[in-house]
Amino acid sequence: MHKLKTTTAVAGGLALAMMAGGALAQDQVTLNIWSDTPRLSMFELYDQTHDNVTLNVTTVAPADLIAKLQLAMQAKSEIPDVVFLSDIGYTAQLSTRRSNYLMDLTDKVPQALQDEFYPNGNSPCEVNGKLYCLRNDLAHMMVWYDKPLMEKLGKAVPTTYAEFEALGAELGPEGYVLGSAVEAFPLYSFLVSDGCDMAMPVEGKPDTLKIDLTTDKCTKPAAMVDAMVANGSLAKVGPFEPDFVNLAKTGKVPLIIGPTWFGEYVIKPTYEWPEGTLAAAMPLKWDDQDQPLTWSWGGGTYGGWKDTAHPDEVVDVIEWMATDVANQTDAVTLPAHEPSAIAWGAKLKADSYYADADVFDVEVGSAKYSHPGYVSLRFSVSDAIAKVITQGMGGGGTVLGALPALQTELTNLAKLNGYTVE
């Protein structure tokens, strides 16, 4: 367990109490926290800056969080007061009758504070109209490109999917690749980009999902992916696999659609694009859309335990972690809280690594196009995509051809997990 050194904090607290005219020192509250590794330093900062609260932080591997919580709830002991949820699906999975963990924050977090988040920033935290968590970071998809390479190739950066497909048709046969078609999330984001009803919540109807993959809105993106796989411009290997990484390192990936964290944590360290090459552009839209609709890949959240002994402190920790500007300034990924994001962005703006200074502006500028359907579900659509589509593609199957099977899989999964399917 990662018990923080609290000596200085306690001493500070005592000093404050004495200054307040001999009033009794505030009651010390100890909260149990489950964090992932990157968030450790942020919880430490809370502990240091809050004299009345001691945080007892345990590092829990993100993938193990739900299982560990189920065990703790079964044992009725060592249940954490605040958790960092690395997967947006966890919110829905932890607010069911069987695993009823999360505290309803709807009335506890002031509306004014909720409004400081980017549009749809907190939709992964809303289940049936109630707010169960606060979002830590955004992770919507945008366009990343190699500026000198695009110039050398004499190509304009696409703004629509039609242009993207056309670019692929030109560059694919020449050995250039514009992304991957097999990693579940990029594929997912293509498929829902035109508003396909792929397990989308229905407004006003609790626990109801719309699943209809037969419409034009679904078949059009699917056909685009198939065409781009056929001409080689979308790779049949994942973006982190050695083959793809080698392509990216050797200048064969002029452009790729990726989430906001792609630049800093994939292209820079893994693809090793040299300084002054990486630039970003707004997410793509379809010709029948007025504005882009962009899916996300990741973005963690903070939640609290509904039966905690210290609800006020729990809410305070959650609010502070997600919205304290000083704290979020040094966060690893783009904060979902707008004032924090602006402070955070200064570093990015000054970073000479990027070819353009506007990368941060693109990141926050595209936040408003975030897909409102990027919500928390009790089952994993991306796992279903991996199972039904990706596996079939290994054997030469197409995305378009796999849509009916995906529809069946998703419908079954939704019903199994207690959703009404429309």
Partner: protein, 295 residues
């Protein structure tokens, strides 16, 4: 004529045998060889160079530093925990299985058959089925998150009883036992004076297999331990790996745990087993399932 055919078949046979054994060496050995070499390589080298490249000392020491500096050398704590769990669990499993297997092998008594059947069932029961009840039981006893809890749970090693039972039922010299009995030794004395001195190979064998099981135990340790100070190596390293996104490819963090660190961590887990196997091999060979042919 006949002998010549035999002769040529013989050498062809030898060739097939050596070819097959060599092929198997490749199948089992190459991945391990690769793993050990990969521990010295950087992530870039893993992705771009030919599979059997030896990395550099610099890359290795960087990887080592990254791995060990995580949470102030927490990996050292985990290794120490693993050692504690293993020693405790192995001792307990020996205390339980050697006398147990001996008693089962020595003679018929009421309930013996039932115990053997239950042992067989316990050997093949899926861990997911029992892990939650075990967790709740230990919680009731206040043994979750304690060394004692995991040691107790991992000391239950029905396979060890099975091995000891098979061993004793075939290799106890009946004549010696009988004459000792006539001399007035009771079963316990028979056990301590005659069976135990003969039991060295089976003690080594059970100790080895239970060590292997406990050292690499993930599931039980995962469930019984929630305090990361008490993690064993497999749980700690899996948490570290999954937490850093090094394998799952969601690397949106600054944790310097990438694929080389994961590989080095894997080597750290594998190495003790390897060493112990090489040391224990003499016993393991002589004491194995030698009696399974009975009946």
């Amino acid at each position: 004529m006949a002998s010549r055919t035999l002769q040529s078949r013989f050498s062809l046979g030898r060739f097939v045998v050596f070819a097959a054994l060599a092929f198997a060496v490749c199948f089992y050995g190459i991945p391990l060889l690769w793993l050990f070499m990969a521990g010295t390589r950087s992530e870039a080298s893993l992705f771009s160079d030919t599979p059997f490249t030896i990395g550099s000392w610099a890359a290795f020491s960087q990887t080592w530093t990254n791995l060990t500096s995580y949470n102030n050398f927490q990996i050292g704590t985990w290794a120490a925990n693993s050692a504690i769990y293993s020693v405790g669990g192995v001792l307990l499993s020996l205390v339980a299985s050697i006398p147990g297997g001996y008693a089962l092998a020595l003679s018929e008594f009421p309930g013996r058959k039932l115990i053997l059947i239950m042992t067989m069932i316990a050997m093949i029961t899926p861990s997911t089925a029992v892990v939650l009840p075990i967790f709740l039981e230990m919680n009731l006893l206040g043994l979750n998150n304690t060394y004692a809890g995991l040691i107790l749970a991992s000391g239950f090693f029905p396979f060890g009883v099975y091995l000891a039972y098979v061993y004793f039922s075939t290799s106890l010299p009946k004549g010696v036992m009988d004459s000792a009995r006539v001399d007035g030794c009771n079963r316990f004395e028979l056990f301590t004076r005659i069976a135990l001195p003969l039991a060295r190979p089976i003690v080594a064998l059970v100790a080895f297999f239970s060590f292997l099981a406990i050292w690499s135990n993930y599931f039980l340790a995962f469930v019984l331990l929630s305090d990361d100070k008490l993690y064993n190596l497999p749980v700690g390293l899996t948490a570290l790996v999954s937490g850093s996104g090094a394998l799952s490819n969601l690397p949106a963090n600054d944790v310097p745990i990438k694929k080389p660190e994961v590989i080095l961590a894997a080597i750290i887990v594998v190495l003790p087993v390897l060493l112990i196997f090489i040391v224990a091999q003499r016993f393991v060979r002589s004491g194995t399932l030698s009696g399974a042919e009975k009946g």
